[in-house]
Point group: none
Chain length 181, copies 2
Amino acid sequence: MNTAPNEQLSLLLVDDDATFCDVLRRALEKRNFSVTVAHSVEQALPLVQPNPPEYAVVDLKMGGASGLALVQLLHEMDPATRIVVLTGYASIATAVEAIKLGATQYLSKPANADEIVAAFGHLADPDLSLNAQPASVERLEWEHINRILQENGGNISATARALNMHRRTLQRKLAKRPSGG
Amino acid sequence: MNTAPNEQLSLLLVDDDATFCDVLRRALEKRNFSVTVAHSVEQALPLVQPNPPEYAVVDLKMGGASGLALVQLLHEMDPATRIVVLTGYASIATAVEAIKLGATQYLSKPANADEIVAAFGHLADPDLSLNAQPASVERLEWEHINRILQENGGNISATARALNMHRRTLQRKLAKRPSGG
DNA sequence: TCGCTCTGCGACAATATGCCGCATCCCTGT
DNA sequence: ACAGGGATGCGGCATATTGTCGCAGAGCGA
């Protein structure tokens, strides 16, 4: 942390959606963050090597390396970095992985800048209220598929075999967004 | 099985569903765990105060205090304890909290003993985890539907609403597999 | 009895799936 | 450099499953 109270906070934003990055960057800059943007893990690496950022917003599903690898790297470089993982394909399996690798919070799109900023300050809360609504079968299926996919290191063909499901069908299911519930 | 059965591994199982506990306890005992059962956080406390267990399986949604509090306590008492959170009301939010509070893994019901043991990570029996084939999505769906049906006292319409599924579809699914599993 | 919900089931349209093939890539051993 | 093997993404098409409607009967409390 810098001593100057009005110093901007360095923030790394990594998402392969250019439009999304533009919008979010502007919103974050208004909130006193000095934003650096990258569209892939590979592109982000040289930007963080010299001096790791204080904050980071990382998308998981990008071309090239998974955002999870970047989360791990950022956390190793500076454990004090507050990392928010933001993904349109949220699943419990990847959420668990992200947190274990050092992420501070895990949000699913759509999320606005305020939610993201709030997530930076989020602390573990053992009194979190529980959702009394059971998961829909659709959601359950999504979670299960993602867990097996995780176990198979992201290998779609292997996952399809493990689940006794046609690869084409798995592809189509993965292409769809997870539905709430 | 083939590994030398040295001393048993202490395991705390906390779930308010007595039947579920019975079944799971037996399954875990077969896998060389010394299982202690509690049906609430309050009931579990005196059991872990003298000597914390090496492993724990904790349900989140129970009468009384949230399982998250117990996760935190167990982790504080002994950071080496491997804690698996197992819940029928899985959500990303609680998954994130659970991991941050010290849980090793987060699973949603239905999950069998093999999956739970695998979730503890490494150790266990490598042979068991290797041939442990993940449940097919169909079987998962069937068990989930039946669990919710149970909770709704067999009311098909209510279950369909809870699962966000059309009543007609639920009827057809239920008619297809008269003998569940 | 009226009004409400649950239930089973037929029918038809909208989707989803299984299964084919094909064109890339990315390894790895030759 | 090359072939072989596997993984991936995707179009297309026949078939299976769902979503959605409607209807009639049963149970239940006011």
